[in-house]
Amino acid sequence: MSTTTLSAPRGAAAPAGKFIAWLTAKDTLATGVIMGLAILFIGFAAPFLYPPDPYAIHPAAALQSPSWAYPLGTDELGRDELALLLSGGFYTLVIALPAAILAFFIGVAYGLASGLGPSWLDKTLMRLLDAILALPSLIILLFFASIFTPNNTTLILLLGFISWPALARLVRNETMAQKNRDFVLATEQLGASQIYIAHVHLLRVMAPILVVNGTFMVGDSILSLSALSFLGLGVQPPYESWGSLLEQGLDLIALNPWWLILPPGLLVFGSLLSASLTGQGLLARFGGTR
């Protein structure tokens, strides 16, 4: 490792530079976690704290911008947008989070099996993985969603089965890289079995990568569900999710309904941002992935 990292010749640091540095010096992990907790609160706790029924129709009050009566305004059917948002949050999270967890476990298991198993197993699993990875996830989602109109349970399964391949490949590559390291060989010499080694040594060494990728997967899951709902193939009526709410807003875009578009979009953005920040922050905390 070189003792000199070349960098650009120094110039005068602008005052703008100092502000930016201060802004980004804040602990990304803390920010990410706090945002994540806020989102979780919005999705799981708030719907039960806000009394109005999200699906109650008030045609007389249709398409009103935010007011005291309706804090986030109403949609074309006169439904309380804030209530819809909260309810939508609930369905978004209650589908996306279990899907992410499912995908995580499948991915890790597949990757470990491929990395630790005999060579023929590895080759076969990886070929299959390559073929699966050749298809972008949204396309596959559209395909399957077109076959059967999804209900909430099938959506969890669908999303769960989509995002595991990338993690599997990562886990497999990491396992291959780690399994021939000296400390693993030394443990083998002590008479340890493969399962022991995977469990005690490999997972511990891979923990940083797994955790970081896990957080990213949560964000991806929310994004995929929202995208699918936006296209009409995700959460189905009468239930709403952030994606479908945004789509409804977009339908009426000529009427400039910013209160229908901004909130759901910002919440999805917030979820993704918190996942990214948390992942980044964790990465920094672990001091890199080695």
């Binding site: 003792t3 120094r10 400390f183 030394a186 010499q189 002590l190 008479g191 040594h201 060494v205 923990a207």
Partner: protein, 604 residues
């Protein structure tokens, strides 16, 4: 004759995290004349590499240099960046360690050499290429016309280093700085590189600043020597005087810990190098010095010269003392009481994994016709260069790779066993690897690492006590059990690896280059530890190394490997005094030898 390079009170400070910017190298004064080679010697952390980089002003952005560095009359520290760039490559050429990473992998060798010429001379591309060709043959690369368009990864380690030298020489600099150029190269190749540098030095009347931790290279080739410890100079002067009568206690200790072929004892240096943040106010070596006196801690000792070298010591060693470590070996021929390990007809073949269209190629065997018998309590040395198969032999004995032939331990042949039986027998052979950090899981506490073999064997009563005992056996404190591997030094980490191996109660330990990644003084400590442990518990060793001196110090018998075959196998004393095979002779010649210092002058 005036000096080509003169460093005057050179002090280099670097930012070190919370402590701010602290001096890493302090008050360095040295001078080199044209045609002279000075060896700047020190262990890791001594500041020697920083010194070399600071002459070229290649330090990290926030490093600060004070003092002066005169190159042929010009003070390099006062130059602006533009002027300094004109000096780099033209007035001073630099050769780095590890030539593979020091060369751009996606440019041809010819392009990179030509580039260094083109930077300082406005000539046509064709002329630069011709110069590159000329340089390639000057550094001894056969068929330069074919090699000039090859990429760095197509060259071997030694040839890559020649390319680096060619690049450094392209503008005929007055000074060549070489930072550990032979580290990591096989001994025979390293010898060739040194011979090349020496020849070029003479032909071009070039001054050479040679930075290294390897004292034997300095003894062989350098005119003068300068020893650094913890950032300050401790001794300097002519090389001949130094090796005949070192004056500073650190120098004496350092020389004592360098293994030479046929040496009887290696001297330990207790303690550790101080961190830059916590250096003692007085003499920096005094905490570890066997001759320490109260005034040594008061202030840093001024240089004191008598006959021969200059030493920064209040109580330098008298010049008439004869080095007691230079005792030749009186090795007994080891008479084993029982046979422990038998290797018969061992052959190992690696298979290249074919890609889709290219079928798996049949490679030549990594090992052939290996037959060895190891007695109980014996230490067998396995010596060879890279590619000789020595590591492969170790792995075969450890049952880590598949092989054909028979390996029998305590009468049981591994090839007849399966499953749990095989695993249990395998446990009796343990291993210590080259890189101590790699061999310990960075996320597990040291206590648990050592306890692991105990847990796996089911011996979990009084676990903590067992771990403390093991730590004590390798000379470490019980408190170490709470730390992580990242928080200990290389020497300590290797000791932990040994403790872990001992915890499995093995009969035989395979040591694969156990000291190659460590400093010289740490190496001595580790080898002595291993010797003591063997005496205590009747352990047998298979010691694999490319360093003949280390092996001759430790082993009862030595096997010399070349291209997968044993070319010579006999007891140590006979092998080093009367080698039979030509290859053995050449290896011996390249290894650091014991010299009778009173009479033999250093070769130039």
């Amino acid at each position: 004759m005036s000096a080509v390079l003169k460093l005057e009170n050179l002090t280099v400070s670097l930012p070190r995290g919370a402590a701010g910017t602290i001096p890493i190298l302090e008050d360095l004064n040295l001078s080199i004349k044209a045609g002279e080679m000075l060896g700047l010697v020190g262990e890791s952390g001594s500041g020697k590499t920083i010194a070399a980089l600071s002459v070229m002003r290649l330090l990290p952005a926030r490093g600060r240099i004070t003092g002066h560095a005169w190159l042929d009359g010009t003070d390099l520290t006062t130059l602006d960046e533009r002027a300094m760039r004109r000096v780099r490559g033209k007035g001073v050429g630099m050769v780095f360690q590890n030539p593979l990473s020091a060369l751009n992998p996606s440019k041809t060798v010819g392009a990179q050499i030509a580039e260094s010429y083109l930077v300082h001379n406005s000539v046509s591309a064709r002329a630069a290429r011709a110069r590159a060709l000329e340089l390639l043959s000057e550094v001894g690369i056969a068929t330069p016309a074919q090699k000039i368009d090859d990429y760095p990864h197509q060259f071997s380690g030694g040839m890559r280093q020649r390319v680096m030298i060619a690049m450094a020489l392209s503008c005929s600099p007055k000074l060549l700085i070489a930072d550990e150029p032979t580290t990591g190269l096989d001994p025979l190749i390293a010898g060739q590189i040194m011979a090349l540098i020496t020849r070029l030095r003479r032909e071009h009347d070039m001054a050479v600043l040679f930075v290294t931790h390897d004292l034997s290279v300095v003894e062989e080739h350098a005119d003068s020597i300068h020893v650094l410890y913890a950032g300050k100079s401790v001794e300097w002067g002519s090389s001949r005087d130094f090796f005949a009568h070192p004056r500073h206690p650190y120098s004496e200790a350092l020389l004592g810990s360098v293994a030479r072929v046929g040496q009887a004892r290696l001297q330990n240096i207790e303690g550790n190098l101080p961190e830059p943040e916590s250096r003692p106010p007085g003499c920096r070596f005094s905490p570890r010095c066997p001759y320490k006196q109260p005034d040594c801690d008061a202030a840093y000792p001024p240089p004191s010269t008598s006959t021969g070298t200059t030493a920064a010591c209040f109580h330098p060693l008298p010049a008439t003392a004869r080095a007691t470590y230079a005792e030749p070996l009186q090795k007994q021929i080891f008479a084993p009481t029982a046979t422990q390990l038998t290797i018969q007809n061992l052959e190992v073949r690696y298979h290249s994994t074919g890609s889709f269209l290219t079928p798996a190629a049949k490679l030549p065997p990594a090992l052939q016709d290996i037959a060895i018998t190891l007695g109980r309590g014996e230490c067998l040395g396995v010596v060879g260069e890279s590619g000789s198969g020595k590591s492969t032999l170790g792995r075969a004995v450890l049952q880590m790779i598949s092989y054909s032939g028979h390996i029998t331990l305590d009468g049981q042949d591994f090839s007849t066993l399966r499953g749990a039986e095989k695993r249990n027998l395998r446990k009796k052979i343990q291993v210590v690897f080259q890189d101590p950090r790699e061999s310990l899981n960075p996320r597990i506490k040291i206590g648990d690492i050592i306890a692991e073999p105990l847990r796996l064997a089911g011996k979990t009563t009084n676990l903590r006590e067992q771990v403390s005992t093991l730590l004590g056996r390798v000379g470490l404190n019980p408190e170490m059990a709470q730390k992580l591997p990242g928080g200990v030094s290389g020497g300590q980490a290797q000791r932990i690896a040994i403790a872990r191996a001992l915890a499995a109660e093995p009969e035989l330990i395979v040591l694969d280059e156990p000291t190659s990644s460590l400093d010289v003084s740490t190496q001595a400590m580790l080898l002595n530890l291993l010797k003591d442990l063997a005496l205590d518990s009747g352990l047998s060793y298979i010691l694999i190394s490319h360093d003949f001196a280390v092996v001759s110090y430790m082993a009862d018998r030595i096997a010399v490997l070349n291209s997968g075959r044993i070319v010579e196998l006999s007891d140590t004393a006979t092998l080093i005094s009367a080698p039979q095979h030509d290859y053995t002779k050449s290896l011996l010649a390249a290894a650091p030898q014991l010299r009778d210092r009173q009479t033999a002058p250093a070769q130039t």
